[in-house]
């Protein structure tokens, strides 16, 4: 009983000890915040990676690919059919992307992916990342009249800036661009050819013939090339205010150049029309992928068997039923197909290095922060030692009244424990509050310093993702408590071992 009472009284009267516990509080709060934000980032990233590349990928090792999709798909279904939700074929090839921006041609290095527009959205979140609502419902490589999202549909925050250029993307933009180009061409031509109108008039006939050809020629105001879905970062950049500016929008044309499957491969190129943007918010993907219809790509690369009409493919994306162990399916497929020809991997394998790096980073941060709490432990130790010295006489009194050494030790251990509880409890509350209001706090600090804490032009999220895992919080608080108790063991033992007579004589 006296232990509790004295503990309580020491807590109430020794504010210096509370000061020593502040570092524990801050340590706990920081650890909770850091872990939550890291968890938020990792979770977000994992979702996006998984959404972008499906659960399991079955790839051919050569660029030439595997000859028959149906045959392979059947075989895969035979092995793991009960666990598979959907399959989709894919042709992947490195490519060069060119598009016009003003008077310049801009070049980008991309991964060109031929996909099946029907099944692609079944195996990955591909559909969800598109900018036209109709495409999100059912993907199509046809250009829409208009109606592309002006607001980022994936952003929860209302304050994400509008993408004004998207308002007139689509056929509207295409027709307008075509009109301007025709006008420019005519204007330039008339200007150039104005001094010699008579020189061309004798050749009126071939001109007429030419105009007949022009009738059948591609009319950009009415027609589109094969559709292409571009990673959004390929043609856009983000201003420091977080607004996206586009160098090309749906409706614009572009050129893609890539190798054929011939021996040796040759470069072929063709024109495509941007029909939508792909925004997975993983900048790595958004600045790398261009999706085109698989059949078109197969034709251009010469992947179609002239006799059967069956196209070769590079890879099969597999989406598993929820709760399925991807690693198990991968291993079974690895056993069933010769590893010299096929490579099977899960989404985790694909991004293993990145995920491991983030993991590592979190772990190191945790170790550093925990060391801070451990340092705080030494502060507690020192202050406790002082308190025990200060309380020497009281310890003597207690012993003269019949308190045992263990009882005296209990007072100070209990004191350490309660201080630890206060410290880590307050730290926990602070940390959780911080996480809850993290975006407001980031805005406030940004406003205060004039420098945004969380720069949306660097990250593809508009706000800081944070996920609190109860077990993580538990272990952090537990660790801090353990340190507070450990730090009080030494002073408490000293108190317990004090000789009562010495203690009573102590002035």
């Amino acid at each position: 009983m006296y232990k509790l009472l004295l503990c309580w009284r020491y807590l109430r009267t020794r504010y210096i000890a509370l000061a020593s516990i502040i570092s524990v509080t801050l340590g706990v709060a920081t650890m909770i915040v850091v872990n939550s934000v890291m968890q938020g980032f990792t979770g977000e990233m994992q979702n996006r990676i998984r959404g972008a590349i499906s659960d399991v990928i079955f790839e051919a090792r050569s660029l030439g690919g595997m000859p028959d999709y149906e045959m392979h798909a059947d075989h895969i279904r035979k092995i793991a059919g009960d666990r598979i939700e959907a399959l989709s074929p894919m042709v992947v090839v490195p490519a060069m992307l060119n598009f016009r921006y003003g008077n310049n041609w801009i070049t980008r290095q991309v991964d060109l992916v031929g996909i099946d527009e029907q099944s692609q959205s079944n195996v990955s979140d591909f559909g969800k990342y598109l900018q036209h609502p109709a495409n999100r419902q059912a993907m199509s490589f046809d250009l829409h009249e208009d109606g592309y999202d002006v607001r980022d549909h994936q952003s929860v925050a209302e304050e994400a800036p509008e993408r004004k250029q998207m308002a007139y993307a689509g056929w509207k933009h295409r027709r307008e661009a075509a009109r301007i180009r025709t006008f420019q061409r005519q204007y330039l031509r008339t200007e150039k050819k104005a001094p010699a109108p008579s020189a061309t008039s004798p050749s009126a006939d071939p001109f007429a013939g030419h105009s007949v050809v022009e009738e059948n020629r591609f009319d950009p105001a009415q027609q589109q090339h094969a559709g292409a879905v571009l990673g959004i970062a390929l043609t856009s950049y983000r201003t420091p205010e977080g607004e996206d500016r586009f160098q090309a929008v749906p409706g614009d044309d572009l050129k893609l150049t890539f190798p054929t499957v011939g021996q040796p491969p040759k470069a072929v190129s063709d024109s495509f029309t941007i029909v939508d943007f792909y925004e997975s918010k993983m900048s790595e993907y958004d600045s790398k992928f261009v999706f085109v219809p698989i059949r078109k790509l197969q034709e251009l690369r010469g992947m179609i068997d002239p006799t059967t009409g069956v196209g070769r493919i590079n890879a099969i994306q597999i989406r598993l039923k929820p709760g399925t162990d991807g690693e198990a399916v991968r291993d079974e497929l690895r056993k069933a197909f010769p590893p010299e020809l096929y490579c099977v991997s899960t989404w985790r394998d694909k991004q293993g290095a990145l995920l491991a790096a983030v993991d590592m980073e979190t772990r190191i941060l945790n170790i550093l922060l925990f060391l801070i709490i451990a340092v705080a432990g030494f502060g507690i130790l020192a202050i406790f030692y002082m308190i025990v010295v200060e309380k020497t006489r009281d310890i003597g009194i207690l012993k003269s009244l019949g308190a045992s050494s263990r009882g005296v030790m209990g007072i100070f251990l209990g004191y350490g424990l309660s201080l630890g509880m206060i410290g880590s409890g307050v730290g926990m509350v602070l940390g959780l509050l911080f996480v809850h209001y993290i975006n407001e706090i980031a805005d406030f600090i940004g406003w205060l310093t004039g420098q945004p804490v969380f720069d949306p032009s660097i990250y593809y999220f508009h706000e800081i993702p944070a996920v609190v895992l109860p077990w993580t919080v538990f272990w952090i608080v537990f660790g801090a408590l353990a340190i507070a108790v450990l730090a009080s063991i030494l002073p408490a033992r000293r108190a317990a071992r004090l000789h009562p007579v010495e203690a009573l004589r102590y002035e």
Partner: protein, 255 residues
């Protein structure tokens, strides 16, 4: 002292007598045999007690006088089992107590002995009432104390009223005068209903009249409750109030 405890003490005496501890006189409650104690100061050993032999009878008020530094406190600490002698024995109720294990000594101090000191030694974080209850809180765990709290509080209040502190229950020690603190300390010593009170210069820090007041209280307790008191002091006039006075000179007792 309650009747029950009286009879208990009696039966214990009888039992010890029956067990044949023939050298223990029947009325001796406390007895020391050839007590030696010295302190080590670096390499030299400073002897303080050099063979203390004395007996204290049940219900006696004994005063031990001696100059400052002659070892009075040391002797009292040995009697109260706060320290162990280098040589010699201490018997309480016929039982040797100086070599008991720590838990039994704690038990003895908590239930049988009351101690008061020159510097009062109240706990500064607790108020008067809580200080008086401290030995009972030490004796009981939280629940068993709380379940008896009502009874104990009224006991403690009664004692505080008896020593004239009924109006100072909620005061902290630093808000009390020296005489009041010593009276609180007496109440604390009495709350466990001890059979032996050890007082180390209880008036040493008090002015003459307050000191006399304290001694009056002790004398009354001795008479009314048949409480055995061993008091050490360097003040002859204070010692004169006792039944018997012995002198501690050069580490030995002189009648």
């Amino acid at each position: 002292m309650s009747n029950a405890e009286m009879t208990m003490a009696k039966t214990r005496h009888d039992r010890f007598a029956a067990a044949g501890t023939e050298h223990v006189e029947h009325c001796d409650q406390l007895r020391t045999i050839d007590l030696h104690k010295s302190y080590r100061k670096g390499p030299v050993e400073v002897p303080v007690l050099r063979g203390v032999d004395m007996e204290v009878r049940q219900g006696e008020f004994l005063a031990i006088v001696g100059q400052s530094g002659c070892g009075k406190s040391t002797l009292l600490h040995l009697l109260g089992t706060l320290d162990a002698p280098d040589r010699g024995e201490i018997h309480y109720d016929g039982r040797r107590i100086d070599n008991l294990p720590a838990t039994e000594r704690d038990h003895l101090r908590n239930r049988r002995f009351g101690m008061i000191f020159q510097f009062y030694h109240l706990l500064p974080e607790l108020n008067t009432l809580e200080n008086v209850l401290a030995p009972l809180m030490i004796r009981h765990g939280t629940w068993s104390f709380l379940s008896r709290r009502r009874k104990y509080r009224s006991q403690a209040k009664e004692l505080l009223e008896m020593v004239g502190l009924g109006h100072r229950l909620k005061h902290r020690p630093r808000e009390l005068s020296g005489g009041e603190m010593q009276r609180a300390a007496i109440a604390r010593a009495l709350v466990v209903q001890p059979r032996l009170l050890l007082a180390d210069e209880p008036t040493g820090n008090l002015d003459q009249s307050t000191g006399v007041e304290i001694i009056r209280i002790l004398r009354a307790l001795n008479l009314q409750r048949n409480l055995t008191i061993v008091m050490v002091t360097h003040d002859r006039s204070i010692a004169d109030q006792a039944d018997r006075i012995v002198r501690l000179v050069e580490g030995r007792i002189e009648e």
